[in-house]
């Protein structure tokens, strides 16, 4: 009998129970604020999931996930902004105030909601594919890749700030009304919005989970543990790395879209270095080797920030930073690894022999 933690069926069951639980929330809760807030946590969960996929399973520490997230968010905001423009009034007000008298060419496609939504996902995904492809083929990896993503993120942040007539600068874009799909408005405070976000989160999680269990996922995990050996076995390491990085970026792009749908607002703050770093913190604390663990890390920290933050107003960052240090120092695989060891103990009790997984060097995922 192995560790229940590594049992695939058990994992799927836990995931299913977790999401069904989340889906039932709107039936009990009739608080528009809470629903909206929980939906926002869903977005953070999506981001933690994408980090877990890329870093936990692919071994690629990405400190610039804000790029894909931000591009997705901007795409969605542009789409929503154009929905409130009309024939007689085709140009968003902030552009008029920046002396533009025609809609810039790259805004044109966003007049069409379907095209806009497609671009909001496609552009960041394509960016990740190209940037990742170039970097991984040059065998940039580890801390170097982390620093490169940081540089790229800073570049995006700066250019969006600087090109105010096209991007709204530091003020960002504030679509005045909620997203409409096929004539139906998705009110950000409704259960509709909540379930939409949850639905996307479920699909993203299922896809990510399937990837990690596929042979593709096994190769990426092998690359994480020793890229050179995998290369000598004849696999295209760069190809695998690019793929996992791109999928992770795509999930982040979806998260960006969802966030803007919920808050009707985007600004360069979404591409701030510290926000991208906090995504990594969520995954690290929750447990980057577990998709569900990472998501729970995001829920836990953002929830604590909202509800404990005001109680420990002055010391909140102190607590968070200290907690994070302790996790990195003593629990490198996050809180999820606590559960893993607990279940491991449980599994090994009936037998007195050595644990099956205890000494294995490569950490089994989940």
């Amino acid at each position: 009998m192995g560790n229940l933690y590594h049992n695939k069926t058990a994992q799927w069951l836990v995931y299913a129970a977790f999401f069904i639980g989340l889906a039932l929330i709107p039936s009990f809760v009739d608080d528009a604020f809470l629903l909206n807030q929980l939906a926002t946590y869903g977005v953070y969960g999506m981001l933690a999931l994408s980090i877990s996929l890329c870093w936990g399973f692919g071994g690629i520490l990405n400190l610039g996930q804000g790029i894909a997230f931000g591009l997705g968010a901007y795409g969605m905001a542009m789409t929503m902004q154009m929905q409130s423009q009309s024939e007689s009034n085709p140009i968003p007000p902030f552009m008029l105030n920046n002396s533009l008298d025609a809609l810039p060419w790259f805004w044109e496609p966003f007049s069409n909601t379907a095209a806009g939504l497609f671009l909001a996902i496609a552009v960041p995904t394509l960016f990740c594919a190209i940037f990742g492809g170039i970097m991984f083929r040059a065998r940039v990896s580890g801390p170097f890749f982390a620093i490169m993503t940081l540089a790229m993120l800073s570049a995006f942040y700066t250019i969006i700030l600087d090109r105010q007539p096209y991007t709204g600068g530091v003020n960002g874009i504030t679509p005045p009304s909620a997203l409409q799909i096929a004539g139906v408005e998705i009110d950000p405070y409704s259960s509709t919005a909540y379930l939409t976000v949850l639905g996307i989160l479920v699909v993203a999680t299922v896809v990510a989970k399937l990837i990690t269990q596929s042979s593709f996922g096994l190769v990426t995990q092998a690359i994480r543990d020793d890229a050179e050996r995998v290369r000598f076995l004849g696999y295209s390491v760069a190809g695998y790395e690019t793929m996992i990085y791109t999928v992770s970026g795509m999930i982040a792009a979806f998260a960006g879209c969802c966030l803007v749908m919920l808050v009707q607002y985007v600004s360069p703050a979404q591409m701030d270095v510290s926000f991208s770093l906090s995504m990594v913190i969520w995954a690290a604390i929750g447990g980057r080797l577990s998709l569900l663990g990472s998501m729970c890390g995001a829920f836990l920290i953002m929830g604590a920030q909202s509800y404990l933050g005001d109680t420990f107003l002055a010391t909140w960052l102190l607590i968070l930073g200290g907690f994070f240090i302790i996790v990195v120092r003593f629990l490198p695989n996050g809180l999820a690894s606590l559960l893993e060891s607990a279940l491991g103990l449980l599994a090994s009790k009936p037998k007195t022999s050595a644990e099956p997984n205890g000494d294995a060097k490569p950490v089994p995922a989940e």
Binding site: L61, I134, M135, A138, R139, V140, G142, P143, F144, A146, I147, M148, L150, A151, M152, S154, A155, T158, I159, L161, D162, V273, S274, L277, V280, I281, A284, A314, T315, W316, L317, L318, L320, G321, G322, F323, F324, I325, V328, R329, P332
Partner: protein
């Protein structure tokens, strides 16, 4: 476009380069010697500024003495951090990055709790609030001071690393820790010393930046990414960082001269990414250094 103003921009470029260099110097040593990615470096700079402020405001220490004093104080903080946390993480480079980010949050909030979040003011001798005119160009005295201090630090480090027994030991540990250990070098002690030294240099940078701009708990955040890029572009060696800072400082000044400051920054970031694509090991990679 007259030559005089372009010349001024070039002189300013040297000054900007020296600011970037002094910010990145401590990081180079910590990264180059121990492979630690210290995300708390910006907060070390901030601590340097606050220790100068504290010494000046509460003990009335003259500014020029605050600079070495900040070195000592921040080096001590670095020492404690290394012993308490970093030494356990040397074989996990990515985890040092994360742990030091946690440290940076703690330091930032700690300073905010002690000193408040309002900006503080660091006074420098009146002499520094003037400028030197060379007829065709002019430059502020304080920028010259920064340049001199930076040059002094670089010279000091070079002497330390290449002319002393300690330096030989550091370089030996950098190249091969196990081999060095087998020759009787206490590598743990070497790491500790270099980390403290790097932190101390950040302290010096902080006491300089406090005069140039403003002392705030959040001031460090703006330096850390930029400092990292210098170190990585330089390849982690002292000479590499000096050249990388020199070139980017100059480019920043010239780009800003022809366009504007924000766009200049954007160009620099993109150029660095492109450069590292073709030379991921940086300008001067250390031969035989472990990665």
């Amino acid at each position: 476009m007259d030559i005089g103003s372009l010349l001024n921009a070039l002189i300013l470029g040297v000054s900007i380069a020296s600011i970037w260099l002094i910010a990145a110097l401590g990081l180079t040593i910590i990264y180059g010697a121990a492979g630690v990615i210290n995300m708390a470096h910006g907060e070390f700079i901030m601590l340097g500024a606050y220790s100068s402020y504290m010494l000046q405001y509460y003990f009335g220490l003259p500014y020029l003495l605050c600079i070495p004093a900040s070195f000592v104080i921040v080096a001590a903080v670095g020492l404690v951090l290394e012993r308490g946390l970093i030494q356990y993480l040397y074989n996990r480079p990515l985890d040092t990055l994360l742990a030091t980010y946690g440290v940076s949050l703690v330091l930032m909030q700690g300073v905010r709790l002690i000193f408040g979040s309002d900006p503080k003011y660091l006074a420098a001798p009146a002499l520094f609030s003037s400028n030197i005119s060379l007829g065709f160009a002019s430059v502020s005295t304080f920028r010259v001071v920064i340049l001199l201090v930076t040059a002094l630090c670089v010279l000091g480090i070079w002497l330390l690393f290449y002319k002393t027994r300690f330096g030989v030991q550091v370089r030996a540990v950098m190249q091969n820790k196990e081999m060095a250990a087998s020759f009787g070098i206490n590598s743990s002690r070497i790491y500790m010393m270099t980390f403290a030294l790097g932190a101390g240099l950040a302290g010096v940078a902080g006491s300089l930046f406090g005069v140039l701009a403003i002392v705030l708990p959040t001031m460090g955040a703006s330096y850390v990414v930029q400092a990292f890029l210098m170190v990585v572009t330089g390849g982690g060696s002292l000479a590499g960082t000096v050249v990388a800072s020199g070139v980017t400082g100059q480019l920043q000044s010239v780009f800003a001269f022809f366009s504007n400051d924000t766009f200049a920054r954007f160009l620099i970031f993109v150029l660095i990414v492109v450069f590292l694509r073709f030379r991921p090991q940086g300008l001067f990679a250390q031969a035989g250094a472990r990665r």
